[in-house]
Symmetry: C2
Subunit: 327 residues, 2 copies
């Protein structure tokens, strides 16, 4: 019998989850839940769209609910609430608030006898896993994370809030020389500026003061002031044509030493090049939905993260086949 999935929230991420489920024959999409008028939601395939407030009524017809809302306001409320009724998976990515979110979701999931997996995606998610494995293998070493080249939604939004800006896209780009030094095992100490560049494509409103906009971007604390930032003013047409995608990616590297005197150097690198950030995140969510379901069949409950879950639980193949084919 297929694993019955619900999607809670239908933006880019929810749409990505719908597409990912179509690639996994052991899963069945039962319904999409939305806070909007269900009539106005256009899904990729033929699937029921229901108002979000009736979700709990579907608890006997859905095994795992995949939450596709935002980390700022949606998930801190929705994940604990839905974990009372369903096994749940979310992509909560506010690193600093993970312990608090974990505690809230854990309490709810235990109350409901459900399995919850939080902070699933690529960072947190696959990058976290790689940091963990690399740290466990090379206790004496240094970690580096580079993001990009990719679109930062947060930085793009920050530019759009500047007066006179009609629209904007910001790319985070790792500095090649920093990557080279880290890959060579040189263990450099790097400032924010030495690790990433910020490139901005901005559409100014008619008559806006471009020099002021550029200055406000480059001097914006936290977002841009600590980085070398380039600003390009382009037309709305060019923005839509050339910068319509949501690519991202990045690299996690750990460089460490072994041997009687630390004489041997090792570099472990994990990297992602993603045409679509939300679709890749969605694909990770779907694999962990399978894992949540498997753990529930074993009678487990409570909140988990990617760090707690046996890798084999993500796969639709059985253990014998995995040992034969992938080990």
């Amino acid at each position: 019998m297929a694993i019955r999935i619900g999607i809670f929230g239908y933006g880019n991420l929810g749409r990505g989850v719908e597409c990912a489920i179509r690639q996994n024959p052991d899963m069945e999409l039962v319904a999409v839940f939305t806070r909007r008028d269900p009539q106005t939601v256009k899904t990729v395939g033929d699937v029921r769209v229901l108002p979000s407030d009736i979700a709990p009524e579907m608890k006997d017809r859905i095994d795992v609910m995949i939450l596709c809302g935002g980390s700022a306001k949606d998930l801190p409320v929705q994940t604990p609430e839905l974990a009372k009724h369903f096994h749940v998976v979310d992509s909560f990515d506010t690193h600093a608030r993970i312990p608090e979110h974990f505690a809230n979701v854990d309490a709810s999931a235990r109350e409901g006898g459900r399995v919850a997996v939080i902070s699933v995606g690529w960072d947190p998610g696959m990058f976290s896993l790689n940091r963990l494995y690399a740290n466990a293998i090379l206790p004496e070493g240094t970690d580096y994370t580079f993001w990009g080249k990719g679109v930062s939604q947060g930085h793009s939004d920050a530019i759009r809030r500047i007066e006179g800006v009609l629209d904007a896209k910001q790319y985070t780009i790792p500095v090649e020389e920093a990557l080279r030094a880290v890959r060579a095992g040189e263990n450099p100490t790097l400032t924010a500026r030495e690790k990433h560049l910020r490139e901005c494509f901005v559409v100014a409103k008619e008559g806006a003061d471009k020099a002021r906009i550029e200055r406000e971007i480059c001097e914006m604390p936290h977002y841009f002031a600590d980085y070398d930032t380039t600003v390009h003013f382009i037309s709305l047409e060019e923005l839509k044509r050339e910068h319509g995608g949501i690519p991202h990616g990045g690299t996690v590297i750990r460089s460490g030493r072994t041997g009687a005197e630390g004489e041997n150097r090792h570099v472990i690198e994990y990297s992602l090049k993603l045409d679509s950030n939300p679709e890749f995140t969605a694909s990770v969510l779907v694999a962990y939905a399978r894992a949540a379901y498997r753990m529930s069949l074993e009678g487990q409950c409570g909140c988990k993260t990617v760090l707690d879950i046996p890798p084999a639980y993500l796969s639709a193949c059985d253990a014998d086949e995995l040992r034969r084919r992938l080990l």
Copy 2:
């Protein structure tokens, strides 16, 4: 209390395990076991060296035995035997015989109520894990594994068996153009020759026919005939000076597609650059020794592989700290 470790077999790998244990304060090396005369074994630190046949007598003083013998003859016998008395970890790497080894070790470990982890290292091991994760996330895609640049012990041995050869080192080198195409998501179909080069450094005996040696190398079935092979004749001094190390590494790449029509491409890459193949393998073995011990405390028993083990079990840090620091 520290996890009490034994090392069974003391070659390059056993020495690497000894060094790795020194980097992990939650572990204590109790003894090294050898089939040689213990008096002749020189360890890095101050540790008891005992004859291998008395190992079972130490079963109350050692938690995890790390097996450091070879996959051809040692491990198929030793791992099942020792799994009756200890939690064990081995680096069995004969891919085709893993199912058989798994079954033998599982039976013994269950008989003894012990946890066994087999096929730990980088391939099988970390590469297997990365194949599994990437396959689960991108069900529609293609896998590639490249090895090197690194020393292949098997290929070096094959050259040494040719008449007139005094010593030899063989490097396996991935073909740059193949790597480029795979990284670009071009999904090429690659023959053995298109994926790897083989470079050989050979010391010929005085008066040996070098042309014949070179021909025998290049035409050797399985080992060299299917590859572009380069042979350099050098002096014994140069071999020792320039080719004394045991570096290795490689790259696992999965390239796949997502989206309503498969319109978005993603490339997941994991790569290793290792100055010392045995020391890195040893570091992985030690992390999984910790995991085996943790699982035993939960009352688990039987044979496991890296695919079955929750990542957090590899780390000396507790779950709260891992969520705070690495997630």
